[in-house]
């Protein structure tokens, strides 16, 4: 195939313990480490492996956000993507608008395959890939742990609640990456230098001519209810006694 399009979202790093702003208006991101959404990194790794097997010619990474998202796109280029597109917007768009923006890029670039992460670890929505596939009127392989390409079709193994489901979908299609699809490579220093020379185009979200919303109103961000501090027991006898005390074992 000619092109694979991969979405990269800039999110608060996996290891950061997030804190809610005191006025409940959002999550503290000042001075917080930001990274590529881990599932998107897996999506990119898969696209790169497909290209390295000779089954694709070009891998394009795309992100939506403020100019800081260039950092994540540069990391994607250092991993091995050929070029990058940043859809610029100061305000984080709603998920449907993201899907509409990605569709516009799909129409301009004409990829045979779009690979996204199955979820972003900030909003945990698990929606963008399925929405893009719906708007594009193409198949989706959501939560993929294995992708086999066979000409005009793809065989996708999906992680579902009862085990693994295998489906066959026609291309072009959208596939979303689950955890066990692959282990992303580490970026090497020379690749970071090389990535600086790769093309990174910017286009304003407003210039894509897409309709925004209808938005969901984010009313309040709160920390979750804390669990009460428990007890420590010294041995198995103490554990069994504590369980009996709570009526959990006979």
């Amino acid at each position: 195939m000619e092109k694979i399009l991969v979405g990269l979202k800039r999110v608060v790093d996996y290891n950061v313990r997030v804190r809610v702003k005191s006025d409940g208006s959002g999550v503290e991101t000042d001075g917080v480490k930001m990274s590529i959404n881990p599932f998107d990194e897996i999506a990119l790794e898969e696209a790169l492996r497909i290209k390295e097997r000779g089954e694709a010619s070009e891998v394009i990474v795309v992100s939506i956000g403020a100019s800081e998202s260039q950092q994540q796109l540069r990391t994607g280029l250092a991993m091995g993507a050929d070029r990058a597109i940043l859809i610029t917007t100061d305000k984080a768009p709603d998920t449907l608008s993201c899907a509409r923006a990605l569709l516009e890029i799909v129409r301009r670039e004409g990829p045979e395959l779009v690979i996204l992460g199955k979820q972003a670890i900030d909003d945990d929505n698990i929606q963008t890939g399925q929405m893009l596939a719906a708007l594009w009127d193409r198949p989706q392989g959501a939560f993929a742990s294995k992708i086999e390409l066979n000409g005009d079709t793809a065989r996708v193994t999906r992680e579902v609640d009862v085990g693994l489901e295998i489906i066959e979908i026609d291309l072009p299609a959208v596939i979303t990456a689950d955890l066990r699809l692959n282990e992303p490579r580490y970026v090497k220093l020379p690749d970071i230098m090389k990535a600086k020379k790769k093309p990174l185009d910017e286009i304003a979200l407003a210039d894509l001519g897409i309709e925004a919303g209808p938005e969901l109103k984010e009313v309040l961000f709160e920390p979750p209810a804390e669990r009460q501090k428990g007890i420590m027991v010294d041995d198995v006898a103490g554990l069994v006694a504590a369980l009996k005390d709570k009526g959990l074992v006979a």
Binding site: V18, L96, I121, A133, L164, I169, P214, V219, R227, I231
Partner: protein, 313 residues
């Protein structure tokens, strides 16, 4: 007028208990009616279970050979075709609902609310974000359909004392042929289902091998418990993916959860926040699992677990 449509999750024979929990959520929304839609190649058995759920007004059935396997891309246009007139279209936060509902939302031109954990108003809901470390109150536009999934762990199943009418509905949607089911590789187990079990015993990386994981199975069988695992244990190949508990696995709410050799990454803890009692057994007294455990025991699981199994005789 508020009218709710719930898309049933099932395997062709049995209604997934998550559907009953979605009905429980729907009963908290001030509404005129709650209909449950069953899409299948053979609707009768599942419809017979759905009609018993308390609070359900009608069971709508769409029987079609194409609906034998629940592919989101195949079902979404059919859901849209029968969704007209409904103010709320709810699905379950199961792999089925997560695949299907965003596709429905996009076709209807609305955003989706994922993982409703509480109802604050007809269009206002709470949901977890950042692996459950933040709770977001979110409000959908009042003049558009609400498309949402319901977080099963936040609700108890409704009783089954109802006898709602079952109505076959015409569905004139164009069904795509671009997505085809090939096979399902489901683990077979006589143990209680992880997502609905009252007790769950989970093992982590510290088990060290698939063979050692037998210790977990033996204890679980003694307790009549379902078996789960941390991501690390699944990634290491000790157990299959369907046993993973956490942000990217299953979110569960058993009355007793026993975490063995699991350090307790935030991504794991989000999967067990609603458990009644959490027991942690870990050799590292600094492990974060002890911050959420109701009962903690520091020590070597390889001596503790057999001893505990014997003690429960």
């Amino acid at each position: 007028m508020t009218k709710i449509l719930i898309i049933a999750d099932h395997d062709g024979q049995t209604l997934n208990p998550a559907t009953s929990k979605s009905v429980a959520c729907a009963t908290e929304i001030d509404s005129a009616s709650i209909d449950v839609a069953v899409f299948s190649d053979n609707v009768s058995e599942v419809a017979a279970q759905a009609k018993q759920l308390d609070g359900v007004s009608r069971v709508l059935t769409v029987e079609n050979e194409a609906n034998k396997h629940a592919l989101g891309a195949v079902l979404a246009p059919q859901v849209v075709a029968i969704a007209e007139g409904y103010s709320h279209i709810l699905g379950c936060s199961t792999s089925f609902g997560k695949d299907l509902m965003p596709r429905v939302a996009a076709l209807l031109g609305v955003n989706q609310i994922s993982d409703i954990m509480s109802v604050e108003g007809t269009h206002t809901f709470k949901r977890p974000i950042y692996a459950g470390n933040v709770v977001l109150t979110i409000e959908a536009p009042a003049d558009l359909p609400v498309v949402a999934t319901v977080r099963a762990a936040s609700y108890a199943a409704v009783e089954s004392g109802n006898d709602a009418p079952v109505v076959a509905v015409d569905c004139n949607a164009e069904i795509p042929s671009h997505s085809r089911f090939v096979e399902l590789q489901a683990g077979s187990s006589d143990r209680p289902d992880l997502q609905t079990a009252a007790r769950v015993v989970s093992g982590g990386r510290a088990l060290g091998s698939a063979e050692n994981f037998e210790l977990i199975f033996t204890l679980a069988d003694k307790m009549g418990a379902g078996v789960g695992a941390s991501r690390a244990a699944v990634d290491a190949g000790y157990v299959p993916n369907e046993m993973q508990v956490g942000q990217t696995g299953k979110i569960i709410a058993p009355s007793l959860y026993v975490a063995i050799g699991i350090s307790g990454a935030i991504q794991h803890l989000t999967g067990i926040k609603d458990a009644g009692t959490i027991v942690a057994i870990n050799k590292d007294e600094e492990a974060p699992i002890f911050e959420v455990a109701d009962i903690g025991l520091v020590g070597d699981l390889f001596s503790i677990v057999p001893e505990l199994t014997a003690a429960l005789d």
